[in-house]
């Protein structure tokens, strides 16, 4: 366990959506922490709850969402107990967010410079002239020519717009940056540049990042630790490279074997049969058991709890009891070979 006090500590967070037919639990008992200067990746497919968690951390989820349990601590502040005025200070100054598509964050009828000035002046007493200077600095830092301060969003390319959004997020130098699929809509070359820029900025300013995406190869390359979410729960957490080389949870294994690589040997891939569950009516017991090749007796009956494993790892799976070591990769590979899962799930 790390000795440094984490900058973000999420404990048993629970978020529900109130629907006419009952509550849908979008995030259930989610616990993780982020250390200062760390990049924490949150991965999962659609409906797993990762975006819900991110938005809940800033308390910007609209109705019908309600936070029904758990605690969120930013340094020593209990985020869930903040009132509106305190939340306004917390947002952007302590924690800033880069949303999925820059077009969601940028006002198309406002110049980008003005939007960032808005953000600055909302939180700090600053004359417009001073704010403008600061914005030019920020644009420079994120790699936009400062002379484009008066450009409208549609005059910039996709990569530029995303950089502008990052500039807006960094305007107040927040210690924690949440990024929700920031590069998904961008070409891979632009994505690489943005990620490079982000690394440089992180080295320069020392902020932490909560990076949310479904692109696992990107996460494994850029994160320090990764949490895998499935159907609203964290099912595994480990240092990034460890997770890739030795996934403990069968879902993680399945995910790691769902994307082909350009480098390295060519592998036969299977994906994961079935589809993510409907959260209105999730499977009994372990939510993954109906798609799991290694499911056995307890899996449909009880929900496994997150267990600590050596090497700063956690996993929620009955195959792992924290005492005996279970090699998920070998077991899954054996199953694939013997059942020819590749053929069965075409």
């Amino acid at each position: 366990m790390s000795q440094v006090r984490p900058i973000l500590d999420v404990r048993e967070l629970r978020v529900e959506y109130m629907s006419p037919s009952g509550p849908v639990v979008a995030a259930d008992n989610v616990s993780f922490h982020i250390d200062p200067g760390e990049v924490y990746g949150l991965a999962g497919e659609s409906g797993c709850g990762k975006s819900t968690v991110a938005l809940a951390l800033l308390r910007v989820l609209g109705p019908p969402a309600v936070i029904t349990g758990g605690q969120v601590f930013f340094n020593d502040t209990d985020v869930l107990r903040l009132d509106d005025r305190e939340l306004e200070q917390y947002r952007w100054r302590d924690v800033a967010m880069v949303f999925q598509s820059a077009m969601n964050s940028l006002n198309p009828v406002m110049k980008i410079g003005d939007q960032i000035i808005d953000a600055l002046q909302a939180h700090e007493q600053m004359s417009t002239r001073a704010a403008r200077e600061r914005v030019k600095e920020l644009l420079q830092i994120v790699g936009i020519d400062p002379r484009r301060i008066d450009a409208y969003p549609h005059e910039l390319s996709g990569g530029m717009r995303q950089r502008a959004v990052i500039a807006m997020a960094l305007a107040l130098n927040p210690p924690l940056l949440i990024m929700d699929e920031p590069t998904t809509a961008l070409d891979v070359v632009v994505q690489q540049e943005i990620m490079q820029q982000l690394s440089d900025l992180k080295s320069q300013f020392g902020f932490s990042v909560l990076f949310i995406t479904h692109d696992l190869s990107l996460l494994v390359e850029f994160s320090d630790r990764i949490g895998i979410m499935y159907a609203g729960e964290i099912v595994e957490e480990a240092p990034a490279k460890e997770l890739f080389k030795d996934p403990k949870h069968p879902y993680t294994f399945g995910l790691m074997h769902s994307f082909p690589l350009v480098h390295g040997p060519r592998r036969a891939l299977t994906g994961i049969p079935g589809a993510p569950p409907n959260l209105l009516d999730p499977p009994s017991g372990c939510r993954f058991h109906d798609r799991c090749a290694l499911a056995f007796a307890p899996c449909p009956l009880q929900r496994p709890q997150l267990i600590q494993l050596p090497g700063d790892r956690q996993v929620a799976c009955f195959l792992h009891d924290g005492v005996h070591d279970f090699d998920t990769s070998t077991a899954m590979q054996a199953r694939i070979d013997e059942a020819d899962l590749v053929g069965a799930h075409r």
Partner: protein, 341 residues
């Protein structure tokens, strides 16, 4: 099967020197957006050709030209020994539509939301007279659903698209295409909008269908990794031009064009260390409106030479299957020893 039916590996459909211009810009002095320039490729029976490129590369436009959804501004498309752009000038014939089908990227938009799956599949069958009304059609619909992995078919027949998941909808799109018994399927980013764990299922389905029915695929994607996984041959496009083509494994191992090299470098590599790769120049999309002469990659190319800004090189064959259009390797069809990296 006539004597002229191509055998496995033989050329089914040949695209030659296609260009496409779109008029853009104000009322007067219309500008031209050059979406495709001198694009040529062959589709072979039982083989998959991937067209890889990013936004603005023209890969989707090329597919839509082959699908006759848009008309090229110039060039030829040869199918069954005829240039169909000449023989079917105004619009594609029903025969052509019965041979060349297309799958679209968005599983949520490619099925009519107010029609049941049954209706959608039946129309395919009826238009091409592949089934008689009534029981024959019902049986064929069932068998189509089974062949794309949607079983039991009864569960899906009367559903509306919104009741199915993304992966299921794409399978229905495949069923719709298969109903006409095509020779060629143009797949425009068929898995880009699906969840990661489901993509493999769809790609494996495509593989199985290819083997069972001798299909030929044009696989459009921005993801070089999935092209390597699924396609036999891969061609890279940039700014409306084809810049390199080879067997997929060869392309990934020995990329010759600087753009291909850049692409490969940019793909996230889980095995690489954090921040290991060197910084690169600012990336801007290629200029497509009123483009300057020469190679469209010239403004971004680390190895650019004066001739690159004047003339677009012809293809140079590096070996039997591997060609590249780059002055570093030659300007025509004579292979020049590669410049030192």
């Amino acid at each position: 099967m006539t004597a002229q039916e191509p055998l496995n590996g033989e050329v089914l459909l040949s695209v030659r020197n296609i260009t496409k211009f779109f008029p853009v810009g104000g009322m007067f002095g219309r500008l031209q957006l050059r979406a495709l320039s001198d694009v040529s490729f062959d589709l072979k029976r039982g083989r998959v050709l991937a067209l890889v490129g990013e936004s603005g590369s023209g890969k989707s436009t090329a597919a839509r030209c082959v699908a006759r959804l848009i008309e090229p501004s110039g060039g030829e498309i040869w199918f069954r020994g005829q240039n169909i752009l000449q023989t079917e000038k105004k619009s594609a014939s029903l025969e052509y539509r019965g041979d060349v089908q297309m799958i679209f990227q968005d599983p949520f938009g490619s099925l009519n939301p107010v029609k049941t799956i049954d209706h959608t599949l039946r129309r395919s069958l009826q238009i091409h007279k592949k089934a008689h009304r009534g029981k024959d059609a019902t049986d064929k619909v069932r068998s189509l659903l089974n062949s794309v992995g949607l079983a039991p078919a009864e569960q899906f027949i009367d559903k509306y698209p919104y009741e199915l998941s993304g992966g299921q909808r794409q399978r229905v799109s495949f069923a719709r295409a298969l109903a006409v018994e095509p020779e060629v399927i143009l797949a425009d980013e068929p898995v880009s909008m699906l969840d990661v764990s489901i993509r493999m299922g769809i790609l494996n389905l495509m593989e199985r269908l290819k083997e069972d029915r001798g299909l030929s695929y044009l696989y459009i994607t921005h993801d070089l990794a999935s092209a390597r996984y699924f396609a036999d041959e891969t061609a890279v496009m940039y700014g409306g031009q084809m810049v390199e083509g080879a067997e997929s494994e060869e392309l990934v191992k020995h990329p010759a064009h600087p753009y291909t090299q850049r692409l490969l470098d940019a793909v996230p590599d889980p095995l690489a260390e954090h921040g290991e790769r060197s910084g690169h120049q600012r990336w801007e999309p290629p200029i497509l409106v009123d483009p300057p002469p020469g190679c469209p990659f010239a403004p971004r190319c680390p190895y650019v030479m004066p001739v690159c800004r004047e003339v677009m090189p012809g293809p140079t064959h590096l070996n039997d299957q591997h060609w590249v259009r780059c002055h570093l390797h030659g300007s025509g069809d004579i292979a020049v020893p590669m410049a030192a990296d």
